[in-house]
């Protein structure tokens, strides 16, 4: 097994801990968004709660993706297609008293030049994977769920941007027919691993 995979696996434990909320990070607040910077791993995350939505985006290093997908027996063509993107582990919770829905197809990310770009959805990923004969249906954030009260979900959000990029993410969701938006600014994609740079 390659050194890169081993490193990725080590980071997997860290990311799992982060996703599970089991670390004691450094916190900072920025426009209603709480930024978490774990000094041990260098992994950053952004958390917003408002208008019934609670969302957290966590940097996912490419080696983690490679190791995780490899451990599931997925071919390199699948893992590389995801690992070469900017990926955030994303946890979405309905903290309202009514059903909440969102469509990843409505979300947009913006680069510094202000151009809005769509996010590749789970449906699009699965079409690609299934076309390659890969039946794996997990890891990517569900793209059009309706959450009842207390429901929550987690998965990867992927943007076609290089590692280390800075971008903003426009979220859209609705509760009882009312549409809400929130822009999370200055998100940072996980940096490229040392062996790639």
């Amino acid at each position: 097994m390659g050194r890169h995979v081993l490193k990725g696996l080590q980071r997997l434990g860290v990311v799992l801990l982060l996703v599970a909320g089991g670390v004691q990070p450094l916190w900072a607040a920025d426009g209603g968004v709480t930024i978490k910077n774990d000094p041990e791993t260098g992994t950053k995350s952004w958390k917003f709660a408002g208008n019934g939505l609670d969302i957290e985006l966590i940097q996912v290093p490419p080696d983690f993706i490679r190791a995780s997908y490899s451990a599931r027996g997925l071919p390199p063509s699948v893992s590389e297609a995801v690992a070469t993107r900017c990926v955030f582990g994303t946890i979405v919770r309905n903290v309202s008293d009514s059903p909440l829905s969102y469509r990843v197809a409505d979300w947009r990310y913006m680069k510094a030049d202000g151009v809005e770009l769509p996010i590749k959805t789970k449906t699009e990923w699965l079409e690609e994977w299934h076309g390659m004969g890969v039946r794996f249906s997990w890891s990517i954030l569900a793209d059009d769920p309706t959450f009842a009260v207390g429901d929550w979900i987690q998965g990867f959000t992927t943007m076609a941007e290089p590692h280390g990029s800075r971008l903003s993410l426009k979220l859209v969701w609705s509760i009882e027919g009312k549409r809400y938006e929130k822009v999370l600014s200055n998100l940072e994609c996980a940096p490229a691993p040392e062996h790639d740079s």
């Binding site: 081993l6 599970a20 909320g21 039946r135 997990w138 769920p145 429901d151 987690q154």
Partner: protein
């Protein structure tokens, strides 16, 4: 005891982790303790009117097949999960406690694993603080989860004795909470 879980069957060959990555993943997965984590919720949401649960047939740890319809006449907690999913791991002991409390009165828990190797799952369950004794079935190509329109893991359904879905929870839950137990009491 292990009455519904054939993984303890003497016919089962010793577990083998087929790859080092799988073993490391397992070890890492088991390092995530529950002490510092936020509490899991305990609300299951009503599905009204109740929907007929699609029948399916899947293999267990030994490769023996089981159908959902085998459990007709029991209240079924149907849980879709995977070992790499942190909330799935966290909620599993509460499902076992629930199962131990209500199995004699007619509750069965059926855990449908997604995409994973039975050997890996066998090793994982053996390391849990409370080993599951309910059936674990393997949906290696996620065809059953597609039937149930599962959007993410874990997702759990609560079925009545006639095989109708009454409640659903997306995301991890503490299933032996009195709120969930009250729903089960209502179905038993």
């Amino acid at each position: 005891m292990k009455k519904f879980c054939p993984i303890w069957n003497v016919r089962r060959r010793p577990s083998m982790i087929r790859s080092v990555p799988a073993l490391l993943l397992l070890l890492l997965a088991c390092t995530v303790g529950a002490a510092d984590l936020p509490p899991l919720g305990h609300k299951m949401n009503s599905i009204s009117p109740p929907l007929a649960a699609p029948d399916f047939t899947l293999p267990d740890m030994d490769g023996e097949t089981h159908s959902l319809s085998e459990f007709r006449g029991k209240v079924v907690m149907l849980n879709f999960w995977a070992t790499w999913c942190p909330p799935c791991r966290r909620e599993m002991p509460s499902m076992q406690r629930l199962y131990e409390k209500y199995s004699e009165r007619g509750l069965v828990v059926v855990a449908v694993n997604q995409f994973e190797d039975p050997d890996l799952v066998f090793e994982f369950t053996g390391r849990l603080s409370l080993e599951p004794t309910f059936p674990i079935l393997f949906d290696r190509e996620s065809r059953v989860s597609e039937q149930y329109k599962v959007k993410g893991l874990p997702t759990t359904y609560l079925l009545d004795r006639e095989g109708r879905i009454h409640y659903r929870a997306i995301g991890g839950r503490e299933f032996d909470h009195p709120d969930v137990e009250a729903l089960i009491e209502g179905l038993l």
